[in-house]
Symmetry: C3
Subunit: 243 residues, 3 copies
């Protein structure tokens, strides 16, 4: 079992290390895996879809601490969720809701007790990391949570027909699961209209296409170049089916 | 106990991994935590204040290897420091001096013996990592150090009224501890003049403010936007109290 | 023993974390070291020279998973290589070939069996990580490989007289081993012509020079500034000896 981190804290910034310090203190000996720290900053909806896709890669039994939390310091809730064998800890702002909506089984708890010395701006370190550590060390903190029936903020289980992430190669992931799309379907995004290719090598050099990426999502790419640069793709852009 | 790294080697660059290889060799089984690798490059004074603020987050007993070292390859000294229960290893160029100046108890040793195959440009890997590993494995290297009374280069314990770091959200940390500042105090930095808000949500959308960040420092931010972009803030800028 | 990762997956991107999840599953308890994840993207030749230089820093016995793989999804081969006591796993596209060409002893196996659920675009996660884990856990997967006499794609052992990497300080590493170069030799790269200095401090402030870096390579730098910015250096540029 491991604690898996999914945040928008920035892989190169000074926040992730502080989370690691806390996890090491409260869950010594538990492996911590940095799944992603450059989730769409502040875009909870896009992050929720990315988290749902990435979750499939994480073995059951693991604890996922997921924090994209533009409302930190307000009265947004905080939750623990068991969904299909994995335990999630994070803000109740919709981030966990796509996972929840697609799960076969789930249980939810609201976090009701906050640590006394909690900061107003870094709940990743002060609230969620200690909670993830408690859960990961089989010390389920019953006294700090209460069962609830549903999340306070919930997005639907449906695909999100938008660019949700652009990787450092310039490939643009969408929130559309590729299994739902016929291979003949052409897509429009930004100034691009693209057809399907199975792999990069099936497109001509410099040619744009969509394919099923390694997370099972529709991704728009250019063979040998950056779709971000060539096609002007960016997170948040709508992706439309060409009739 | 863990070895905690604070450097300007760049989280995405090829230096940190080499340090990890060395630590794994000389301190196998000891957890290594990457606290920060994008400390202000070459700005020892700003880095010293950031280190002092971050140190509060690190449990006593841990070993901190701190390297911001523009003078590597010159005759600047190298030190081991025990301060308030934590052990620091790094260059004697002022980097550890703010921690030292604020510590209740401290002991200092100069590193006098260098490994035979040391490079001229990467003491993080060749000098400080083996030393941190030795200290962390309770094998205090008495034969490689000698006690000294004081650091060769020392900055004062006082706050630094400058922007010392801008995070990837664009928030600008200063070297001013928030406890020293009345909440009514207005501040000027770059083209901004800002008042206090407790949390982001207390400022109007797009509004600039200062607040006490999760390290206890005064930080200048804009609600829902980047203070770097909106206010033109950058490391090194002076922060003034508005009379 | 550790698994050491050398890839172009991007330290800040979402690929490295997925590799860690797989390694944790198949090689639990084995330390994983992120040596470098911003190897020259898609530039296999430059990456091969960088890998050869970095390999010297990795203790014998370690397993290196090396993936710079622009041809993923095509029919390029995949290999396991034992060279001078280290085991490498990666694509057979030249990436391991400089290490191979310089090794005293080596053994090669082609990977012939692919996991059933392998993706077309992320062999780092689906093919190489499980193989690296198998090798690292002393469970050499004889049934998945067959011995071969040579790599399918091989670059020569010679130095590469090009800029192969520019670090975040702006220093430009070349593929030239410094031991092969007389200290009197002047070099030309981009708009720079530079002489030798032992350390940064030997050059005047703002002065450009070449020196032997901590990997034993010729590196072009500017004292107190970025060679990338001042001299316009970038990966791929030729480096010439001035007659």
């Amino acid at each position: 079992m491991a604690i898996v981190l999914f945040t928008d804290f920035g892989a190169a910034d000074l926040y992730v290390g502080q989370v690691h310090v806390v996890l090491d203190r409260y869950a010594p000996g538990v492996r911590v895996i940095d799944l992603m720290h450059d989730a769409p900053a502040g875009d909870v909806r896009a992050a929720a879809h990315l988290l749902a896709a990435l979750t499939r890669q994480v073995p059951r039994g693991h604890v996922l601490m997921a924090v994209v939390d533009p409302g930190v310091g307000t009265d947004r809730g905080a939750v623990v969720m068991r969904a299909d064998g994995r335990t999630f800890v994070g803000p109740d702002n919709g981030l966990l809701s796509v996972v929840a909506a697609r799960a076969t089984t789930k249980q939810l708890w609201q976090i009701v007790t906050h640590p006394p010395d909690i900061s107003a701006s870094f709940h990743g370190r002060d609230l969620f990391a200690p909670m993830a550590a408690a859960v990961a060390t089989d010390d389920f903190p019953n006294e700090r949570v209460k069962p609830v029936a549903a999340l306070a903020v919930a997005f639907p289980a449906d695909d999100l027909a938008e660019v949700i992430y652009v990787d450092h190669f310039g490939n643009a992931m969408t929130g559309i699961r590729a299994g739902s799309l016929a291979r003949e379907q052409r897509l429009r995004a930004g100034r691009a209209e693209v057809g399907y290719a199975r792999v990069f090598g099936e497109a001509p050099p410099g040619g744009a296409f969509w394919y099923e990426n390694s997370l099972g999502l529709v991704e728009i790419a250019v063979n040998g170049a950056s779709a971000r640069e060539v096609l002007g793709l960016a997170p948040g852009q709508a992706v439309e089916r060409v009739a």
